[in-house]
Amino acid sequence: MKISKTQVVPVSVSLPSRVENLPHFITPVLAAARALFVDEDRCHDLELAIEESIVNIINYAYPDKEGIVRIGCRREEDCLVVCIEDEGIEFDITAADAPDLSSDVSSRKIGGLGIYLVRNLMDDVRYRREGNRNLLELVIFLHPKEMKE
């Protein structure tokens, strides 16, 4: 995507990969989203996608010991892009298999549902590995009315 205008939203948080830190990662990003007039339903989706993404890092990138998670966000033209980084085990959530949603209660497994929610709630999800870092970007489109400032 060609970027002709990038507006940096001043969010940058770097904290250990602990469940109790989830609000510290989420709250400033939601404040930035609301400042860009993202409505509450989309803020809900963003919050859920961030929680699931960071829980995934806790479970799969840093399975044995905690590590550092960084979150930031920026505006790219008509999108809000949330960047989540870790230095753990390589894990591409965009390549993970979709869960089996057709099985009944007795055989239904919940694994993979968090990632599936991320991919379905966001307008775009991008992943790349750079050196020893997982770089995940969660993207939501800003609707025309949300662009008015």
């Binding site: 109790e20 829980v55 949603l101 209660v105 007795s106 919940i110 599936y116 929610l117 709630l121």
Partner: protein
């Protein structure tokens, strides 16, 4: 997150309020397990007050449903609202569990 429990006929109604997320899903599960006796087969979740649920909470609903199924019963979902409803739809929970617009409708369908 708060849960209120109420017996209605042969069903336990669990009214869930607020948020169920990774941070409190284990408390949610513990409260459900504590409230359920061996006799109850039917558990109706009144979700009209549920504002947020992540996969950790969905996992608890699924494990609770497995317990109820093992007793010959099941769970019913009622009155999901707004963005929470979308989470259930994406997760396939509306095909996994019967869902009703109101708790009363769920109780009538047991």
């Amino acid at each position: 997150m708060d849960i209120d429990f109420q017996m209605k006929g042969n069903a336990l109604v669990a009214s869930v309020h607020g948020r169920v997320d990774t941070g409190n899903a284990s408390v949610f599960e513990m409260k459900l397990v504590e409230a359920l006796s061996q006799e109850e087969k039917w558990l109706v979740f009144d979700l009209s007050g549920l504002e947020y649920i992540s996969s950790a909470g969905l996992r608890v609903l699924l494990s609770t449903a497995k317990i109820m199924k093992s007793k010959g019963g099941d769970i019913r979902l009622a009155a999901t609202q707004g963005p929470v409803k979308k989470v259930f739809q994406i997760s396939g929970f509306f095909s996994l569990f019967k869902h009703f617009d109101t708790t009363d409708a769920a109780l009538e369908n047991l």
